[in-house]
């Protein structure tokens, strides 16, 4: 054997020996290769039709879930339904007999959710779902630039499907945000604490009731209401016509004035949520179910990080969202990917209505939402565990109160998104704080940075300021911006003027700033719990008598100011 040939044999042997060694010696193997190794994602093994269903091992597989599990039609259905029921059962938030509003957009995920609820309610009593549903559909045609003719056509299809479900339904147009009261932005306290024991007791007593009443009987509507199939809500869009042209005009004007698609989408979501929460409150629903799927929530999580909503991810993407207080938003579809939803809807004939949205046919870089969607979905094709990894991360997010606010109230909420404000008003250390305070102090008016002092009575409503026109508009703008969280402020920058916003936003902003001013004014007269004897001596030097008198009066009668 010649020397080079011998060398080849020896190196070949060496390679084969090294290949057999455990992984820890891989770094040695690298020395034998001539160039850098090309790193590619490992090829995902593709299942073939010859395989059988991974669950029952007999059926012909029709769909591939996750990275390689092929399911047959029946096993897929069981798997899908089980996920829905497990999500509801695991979280134990929905008490038996509770009224739950299903937010249906006509799209595949929410249609699937409605269908699951329908099927769940009609099962045999042991496994039957126990809450009382209603459906709401929000017509957003005006914000998306749809013509009246198209909207009427869509609504006809929508009503057909709603009637078939047999649940009480509500169709509202987005234009109705212009007639919302400012109280929709208030955070009412929840009615009952939903603890584990409370849930178990509720379920037990419900089952006992059912037993006593003789078993059968659909967990129907609360006694005294019309049976579902006869009930239809007062819908302003009924036979007679649409919401007033003025309101439609105002809504189009608002959305046309917004400069970026990102801000449009965010505002649309905010207004829609307010409207749904308002309808839920007025009709006595304490829970709202939205059909956001796993894929959508993964995209939403990343998008919200880019939008500056990192502090609120747990509320935006978690199972339950209690920021509105008495109405809790629940996301039962958060474990289902869009692929599973689409397959289920196709295989089992779930009806849905297609409506163009605000970002239909928009190019990929039109908004942060679209960009993130394209990014995540493209990554998903190469790495099929992307969406589930992001989802698992979102499950671990905890709703913690802000540091320093461990006891006592959590502080003011953002005017639009209702989350706890994440901006320190006295924030002079960061660049953002310096920027926003300088922005406010540049307001050209006679004010010296003090919020609008009310010359009229404090109390409900009328914050009609008495100053001149120009100064007032600037005040209102500053007044609103002050009460927004970081991401809402950034969004509002894309609105050249805050005037087209629905009146309830402006009214609530003024009300809150009034309240803040008043509470600041009477701060020194308030008797605090840790009242020491020195309290009396902290009174103003110019008026010691009256302060002491007020304090004494308070003590005697037992009221605080």
């Amino acid at each position: 054997m010649t020397a080079p040939a011998l060398r080849n044999v020896i190196s070949a042997r060496r390679l084969s020996i090294i290949a057999d060694l455990p992984c820890t010696s891989m770094c040695q193997a690298g020395e034998d290769y001539s160039g850098p190794v090309q790193r590619e994602p490992p090829p995902v093994p593709r299942p073939g039709r010859e395989q059988k269903c991974v669950k029952c091992a007999e059926g012909l597989p029709v769909v591939v879930i996750r990275a390689g599990d092929a399911f047959c039609r029946d096993c897929f259905k069981t798997f899908y339904v089980h996920k829905f029921r497990a999500m509801l059962g695991k979280n134990r938030l929905i008490f038996p007999g509770e009224k739950v509003l299903l937010a249906w957009s006509g799209g595949p995920s929410s249609s699937s959710m409605v269908w699951q609820v329908l099927e769940g309610l009609s099962q045999d009593s042991a496994k039957r779902l126990r809450f009382v549903p209603g459906i709401i559909y929000v017509d957003e045609g005006a914000a998306c630039g749809q013509s009246l003719k198209d909207r009427v056509k869509t609504l006809a299809e929508v009503k057909l499907i709603l009637q078939k479900t047999g649940f009480p339904w509500h169709v509202v147009a987005l234009e109705e945000v212009f007639s919302l009261p400012p109280s929709v932005l208030g955070c009412a306290s929840p009615e009952s604490a939903g603890t584990e024991e409370a849930y178990k007791t509720a379920v037990d007593s419900f089952l006992q009731q059912q037993h006593v009443l003789g078993g059968e009987g659909y967990a129907g509507p609360v006694q005294g209401e019309d049976p579902p199939h006869l009930f239809h809500s007062q819908d302003p869009l009924g036979m007679a016509g649409f919401p007033g042209a003025a309101q439609t005009e105002a809504l189009s004007k608002l959305f046309d004035s917004i400069k970026t698609l990102t801000a449009k989408e965010e505002l649309l979501q905010t207004l829609r949520t307010h409207l749904i929460v308002h309808v839920a409150r007025t009709h006595g629903y304490c829970k709202v179910m939205t059909g956001e799927s796993c894929t959508r929530l993964a995209i939403k999580l990343m998008t919200n990080l880019a939008l500056g909503r990192g502090a609120f991810l747990a509320w935006d993407t978690g199972f339950s969202d209690e920021r509105h207080g008495d109405v809790v938003l629940v996301r039962p579809m958060r474990d289902h990917t869009l692929k599973e939803v689409a397959f289920y809807n196709h295989l089992f004939g779930v009806p849905s209505v297609f409506t163009p949205a605000i970002d239909t046919k928009a190019p990929e870089k039109a908004s942060i939402h679209r960009l993130m969607e394209a990014f995540i979905l493209r990554l998903q094709t190469l790495f099929p565990s992307t969406v589930s990894t992001v989802y698992r991360t979102s499950e671990k997010l905890v709703k913690a109160p802000r540091e320093g606010c461990v006891t006592g109230p959590t502080g003011p909420n953002c005017l639009l998104c209702m989350c706890t404000l994440d901006i320190d008003t006295a924030d002079s250390a960061t660049a953002f704080g310096a920027q926003s305070s300088s922005h406010l102090s540049q307001m050209p008016s006679a004010k010296t940075g003090v919020p609008t002092p009310p010359c009229c009575d404090t109390g409900e409503g009328q914050a009609q300021s008495c100053h001149g026109g120009v100064g007032r508009r600037v005040d209102v703008q500053a007044c609103i911006i002050e009460q927004l969280c970081y991401s809402c402020r950034v969004n509002m920058k894309d609105l050249p003027s805050l005037d087209p916003l629905p009146p309830y936003v402006l009214a609530e902003a003024q009300l809150r700033s009034q309240r803040a001013w008043v509470s600041q004014e009477i701060q020194e007269y308030l008797i605090t719990d840790d009242g020491e004897e020195e309290e009396g001596s902290r009174a103003e030097p110019g008026d010691p008598q009256s302060c002491k008198a007020i304090k004494k009066e308070g003590e005697n009668i037992g009221i605080g100011l």
Partner: protein
């Protein structure tokens, strides 16, 4: 030499917007030298059926991420994806999952 094929191509979930709103299309694919597979079908669709915005439907050789393909009501991943060879009277369904919620 592949004989002309008759297949049904359907669009759902909003994808039909790119095809003039028409959901079902009965198409006759002309004969050609190599066999018809999904890859060729996509090229054919892009040339003959797609009315606007090709980038919203096709990306490179394949469909845009987020568009599901069902061949005779089964996931195309089980059948070889782009390499599946079309048979006469097959039904190909493209569902866009990107729309709505």
């Amino acid at each position: 030499m592949a004989a002309p094929l008759c297949v049904e191509v359907e669009f759902g979930g909003g994808a039909e917007l790119l095809f003039d709103g028409v959901k079902k299309h009965q198409v006759t694919l002309p004969g050609q030298e190599g066999p018809w597979d999904i890859r060729n079908l996509l090229v054919w669709i892009k040339k003959n059926l797609l009315k606007e915005r090709p980038e919203l439907f096709i990306q490179g050789e394949s469909v845009r991420p987020g568009i599901l393909v069902l061949i005779n009501d089964a996931d195309w991943e089980l059948l070889g994806e782009l390499d599946y060879q079309l048979q006469d009277q097959d039904s190909i369904l493209f569902i866009s999952t990107l729309h709505g919620g």
